[in-house]
Amino acid sequence: MFEQFKTRAEAVSAEVHRFATRAQALDFILDFLRSEGIADQPGAYALWADGSFAAALDRKRLAAQVPGLRFEITRDLAAGARAGISQVDWAVAQTGTLLVDATAVEQRLVSSLPPIHIALAETGRILPDMAAGLARFDPGRCAFLSAITGPSRTADIERVLTIGVHGPKRLIIVFIDEAGEADHQ
C-alpha cells in the first residue's frame, strides 16, 4: 500500500520519503532543515507539534543543538515559521491522503500557515481507502478532522494549476516503518 500511496501523493505534488527507523527519519528532517537554511539561520525556524514521535525525542537537547527548531507553538510563531512539522494519524493509499485529528489548534497552525509542511506518518498506518480512514475517527470525540492531500493548490486563474495559495507550498511526507511505543490514538 505504501507504493500506491506514494504514487498517488506524488501525483498531487507531495514529496514522499520512507525510513526504517525514527533515528533515520530525524536525520532526514534535520538535514532538510539545514539544507533549507531553517536550522541555523537567524530568524528562520521550524515548529514541531506534539505527537508520539516528538514526545519520544529529547526536545530540550534537540532545541539546543538546532537553534531553528522550536516545540512551543503560538499563532504568531506559526505565522512566521518557515516550516511546520506534525504527525498524522493515518494515511489513505487510494488518494494519497493524510488524516489527522486536528482538534488541538497547534496541529492546524503548523500544517496551514508555514510554506512547508513536514508530515510524519507510520508506514503501518496506511489504510486502503477513505472508507477505512473515516471509520477510524469518532466525530463525537474529534472536533476538527483534517484530511490533507498534497499541498495547497488553485487553478482559479485561467485554469492554470498553481501550488501554494493559502496553505503550504510544499508537503513533505516522511514515513517511518518502526512503530511508535506510545500509540497516540
Binding site: V105, S112, M130, T149, T154, D156, I157, G167
Partner: protein, 710 residues
C-alpha cells in the same frame, strides 16, 4: 425574451475571453473526469448519492432538528430560518456583539444567494473573500460566473490589473506571481479578522458535523484563525448519517475538478480550541429559503440531490459558449436555472430556461442523478400555465396539426412566396424555416409530402407489418429518407403502412411548454398509429421516437389524462427507432449489405435523443461498417449540433455557434462523408456545411444503408 437578455447573449458570444479558458476547460473536462473516475462504478455511486440525498430531502424537518440538537450538544449555536433577511441580521448581530470589524470568508454559495457581502459592507464591516477566484470576482465588483470556478471568465491580464490596483503596484500577468500576491495580501487579513464565515459542503445530522472541501486551504484558515466561525448552510446540504459523507466526497472532487480528492477536507464537529486557548464561538445557520417548499414538490424535490459539483455547467454545449453571467443570477447553468426559479421566483427563470437546448448531456454526468433538462422543461410548462401562450404560438400549433395546410404553407414559404416569408409568420414555425439563413441553408420543401410519395411505392403483402411514422421533416422535406426506410424494411420482407392520420409528434409544443397542444398531438397520433394491427411503429427521427416511446405518456400523465394511458403504453411498446430495428433484422440474418469495395471513410454524429434517451449509439455504427464504411470518429461526436428544434429560432446565435464547433470537429477528421440518424441533425449540419462551402456530404444512416442493400 427581454432585449437585455438577448443583448447579454450576443455580448457573451462575442467575448473571446469566455470561450478561451471556459472552452478549453470544458473540452478537457470529460477526459480528465473519466480518468478520475477510473475504477469507480459511477452509476452505482450516483444511485447511492441520489438515494441518500433523496432520503434527506424527504426528511428535511427531522434531519434539521437532529442536526441542530447534535451540534448544540457539542457546543455550537444553531440558528434555523427560512428567511434570507433573518440570516443577514443574525450574522450582523453576531458581528456587533463581538465588536467585529473584519470578516474573512471562504466560498459559500448560500451567502452569495442572500447577497450577504453588500449587506455587511453597508453596515460598515470589511468582508474579504479568500477563495482566490471569489476574491478576484469581489475585487472586480462582479458575481461568480461558475459555481466551482468563479473567475473562469477572466484572463490573467484582468487579474493582474485588479491586483495592481489593490496593492498599488504594477504587476505582470505571471500567474504564480499573482497567486503569491493573493497569498501575501490575504494572509494578513486572515490573521486580523474577527470572524470567519464559511459555507459547508455536507452537514451530517447524526453527528452535527460540517464538511468543508477546498483546494486552497482557505476554509481551514477561516475556521481556525478568527475566534468566531459562522457557517451558513443551505438545508439541502443535510445528510442523515456520518457514513453518507463518503459517497459525496467520492463524487464531488472527481466531478467538480477531476481530482481524486481536494487538497483539504475538514470535518468540524462542535467548537475546537482557538489559538488563544478559548473555545471557538461556532455558529451554524441552517438556511431554508424555499428549500422545504421545493422538497414538497413531487417533481422538484429531486433538485435537492444536487451536490454543487458544476459538471452540468462543464458539459453544457450552451454554457461553454455563453458562460455564467448571462444567467444573471447567483446559480448558473442548468441546475442554476432551476435554483433561480425557486430561490428567486419562477418568473425570473423565464428567459434563462430558454437557454437549455434539451440535449440531455448534463443528465448523464450529474452525480446527484437529477433529470436537469426534464426539470427545466417542467419550469417551461409551469411558465406557460402561469402566463398562457401567445396567440402567434397558438395559431402555429393549429396549423402544424393540419398536415396538408402545413405542407402547402411550408412549400409556399420555401419557394419564397409572400406573405409567408416576410409576414413574420414563418419565423415562428416549428420547422425552423426562418429567414435565418445566415449560418445554414434550409432544405427545400418537397413538392409532394411523403404521405403522397408513399402511395406510389408498391408494398409486399406480409403478415409482418410496420407502420411508418414520418415526423415533420421526413414528411415534408426529406422524403428520400422515408423512401430509404421503406426500401430497407421491404427488403427484409416487411410490409410498410403509412397511417394517414399521423400528425406532428408534439415535440415543438412540448419543448415550448405547451403541454395541452402536445397532449392533443399525442392523442391524435396514438389513434392513427394503432388503427391497424402492426408489429412495429418505426421512425427515423429519434426525437419522434422519444415522443412515441416516452413523452406521449409523460405529457398525458402530467395533465392527468389517465384514460389515454393504456393506449399510449401500447404504442410505446411498438415504437422502435430505425437503426435499432435494422440492427435486429441484420442480426437475425434478414438483411445484409454489400461490402467488399474499399471502405468509404465517414464520420458519425450522435443525435442527442438517440444516444442519451434511447441509448442507441453502437447500432448505427455497426450497420454503417457492415455497409462498407470506415468510421473515423470526430471529437465530441455526441455533443449537440445546435439543432434543438425551435431553439434554432429562439436563440439563433447560440445555435449557430454550437453548429460551428460541430463543423469544425467534422472538418478536423479530414473525412467528407457524415452520417446521422436524425433528420433534424442532417438539416442542421448539411445546411451549415453548405453555407460554409464545405465539400461534405451529410446523409441519414437510412440513406447510406439503402445505397448498399444487397
Amino acid at each position: 425574451m427581454s432585449s437585455q437578455f438577448t443583448q447579454s447573449i450576443a455580448e457573451a458570444l462575442r467575448n473571446p475571453k469566455l470561450t478561451g479558458a471556459l472552452g478549453k476547460f470544458s473540452e478537457a473536462y470529460r477526459g480528465n473526469r473519466a480518468q478520475a473516475y477510473a475504477g469507480i462504478d459511477f452509476e452505482a455511486l450516483r444511485t447511492l448519492i441520489a438515494e441518500r440525498k433523496a432520503y434527506a430531502a424527504s426528511h428535511l424537518e427531522a434531519l434539521a432538528a437532529e442536526f441542530a440538537a447534535n451540534a448544540r450538544a457539542r457546543g455550537a449555536k444553531v440558528f434555523r430560518t427560512g428567511d434570507p433577511q433573518q440570516v443577514r441580521e443574525y450574522v450582523l448581530n453576531v458581528a456587533r456583539e463581538k465588536g467585529a470589524r473584519a470578516i474573512v470568508k471562504s466560498k459559500s454559495m448560500a451567502s452569495e444567494e442572500i447577497h450577504l457581502n453588500p449587506y455587511l459592507e453597508k453596515e460598515g464591516l470589511s468582508v474579504s473573500e479568500t477563495d482566490l477566484g471569489e476574491w478576484i470576482v469581489q475585487l472586480a465588483g462582479q458575481r461568480p460566473s461558475h459555481m466551482v470556478l468563479p473567475a473562469i471568465h477572466m484572463t490573467k491580464e484582468d487579474v493582474a490589473g485588479l491586483f495592481s490596483k489593490e496593492i498599488n503596484e504594477r504587476l505582470s500577468s505571471d500567474i504564480p506571481r499573482l497567486v503569491n500576491v493573493a497569498r501575501q495580501e490575504l494572509r494578513s487579513r486572515f490573521l486580523n479578522a474577527d470572524i470567519g464565515i464559511s459555507g459547508a459542503n455536507i452537514a451530517v445530522a447524526e453527528t452535527g458535523s460540517l464538511v468543508l472541501v477546498t483546494n486552497e486551504g482557505n476554509a481551514r484558515l477561516v475556521a481556525t484563525l478568527p475566534n468566531t466561525h459562522i457557517a451558513i448552510v443551505g438545508i439541502e446540504k443535510l445528510v442523515a448519517l456520518f457514513e453518507d459523507i463518503l459517497p459525496v466526497l467520492t463524487a464531488l472532487p472527481r466531478s467538480a475538478t477531476a481530482q481524486l480528492l481536494t487538497s483539504y477536507v475538514s470535518i468540524i464537529t462542535g467548537p475546537a480550541p482557538n489559538t488563544d486557548g478559548t473555545l471557538k464561538d461556532l455558529h451554524i445557520v441552517l438556511m431554508d429559503n424555499r428549500r422545504s417548499e421545493m422538497a414538497e414538490d413531487p417533481q422538484f424535490r429531486e433538485a435537492l440531490q444536487c451536490i454543487r459539483c458544476a459538471s452540468c455547467l462543464n458539459v453544457c454545449p450552451v454554457f461553454r459558449l455563453v458562460g455564467g453571467h448571462v444567467f444573471g443570477k447567483v446559480y448558473t447553468g442548468g441546475i442554476g436555472t432551476i435554483l433561480t426559479a425557486w430561490f428567486d421566483a419562477l418568473k425570473q427563470s423565464e428567459d434563462i430556461q430558454g437557454l437549455c437546448i434539451q440535449c440531455g448531456n448534463c443528465r448523464e454526468f450529474c452525480p446527484g442523478n437529477i433529470d436537469i433538462p426534464g426539470l427545466i422543461l417542467e419550469l417551461r410548462r409551469r411558465l406557460v400555465v402561469e402566463q398562457g401562450q401567445s396567440l402567434v404560438q397558438k395559431g402555429i400549433f393549429a396549423v402544424v396539426n393540419n398536415r396538408r395546410l402545413f405542407h402547402t404553407m411550408l412549400r409556399a414559404a420555401s419557394l419564397g412566396q409572400k406573405p409567408f416569408v416576410d409576414g413574420g409568420f414563418i419565423r415562428h414555425l416549428p420547422l425552423f424555416l426562418s429567414t435565418f439563413t445566415r449560418d445554414r441553408s434550409l432544405p427545400s420543401i418537397a413538392p409532394a409530402p411523403f404521405r403522397d410519395t408513399f402511395r406510389k411505392i408498391p408494398q409486399p403483402r406480409s403478415e409482418e407489418k410496420a407502420a411508418l411514422y414520418a415526423g415533420c421533416l421526413i414528411d415534408f422535406a426529406y422524403t428520400e429518407i422515408g423512401e430509404a426506410v421503406v426500401k430497407i424494411l421491404n427488403r427484409a420482407g416487411i410490409e410498410v403502412v403509412f397511417p394517414e392520420g399521423q400528425t406532428c409528434c408534439g415535440a415543438p409544443a412540448r419543448y415550448s411548454g405547451a403541454y395541452e397542444v402536445a397532449a392533443q398531438n399525442s392523442i391524435d397520433n396514438i389513434r392513427a398509429l394503432l388503427e391497424q394491427d402492426v408489429k412495429w411503429v418505426v421512425t427515423a427521427c429519434p426525437t419522434c421516437t422519444v415522443a412515441l416511446k416516452q413523452e406521449f405518456i409523460g405529457t398525458l400523465e402530467s395533465l392527468g389524462r389517465h384514460e389515454a394511458l393504456p393506449e399510449a403504453r401500447r404504442l410505446a411498446d411498438k415504437a422502435v427507432d430505425f437503426s435499432w430495428l435494422v440492427k435486429q433484422l441484420v442480426d437475425e440474418g434478414r438483411l445484409s449489405f454489400r461490402d467488399g469495395e474499399a471502405p468509404l471513410p465517414l464520420t458519425y454524429h450522435d443525435s442527442c435523443h438517440l444516444k442519451r434517451t434511447l441509448h442507441v449509439s453502437g447500432e448505427p455504427r455497426d450497420l454503417l461498417r457492415r455497409a462498407g464504411h470506415q468510421i473515423v470518429e470526430m471529437f465530441e461526436s455526441d455533443i449537440c449540433c445546435g439543432m434543438g428544434g425551435s431553439y434554432t429560432l429562439k436563440l439563433p446565435e447560440i445555435s449557430a455557434a454550437i453548429l460551428h464547433r460541430k463543423l469544425h470537429n467534422i472538418e478536423a477528421t479530414g473525412v467528407s462523408e457524415v452520417a446521422a440518424d436524425c433528420p433534424g441533425c442532417v438539416m442542421q449540419i448539411r445546411g451549415g456545411c453548405d453555407k460554409k462551402g464545405l465539400a461534405v456530404r451529410v446523409k441519414h444512416t437510412a440513406e447510406r444503408l439503402a445505397e448498399r442493400l444487397e
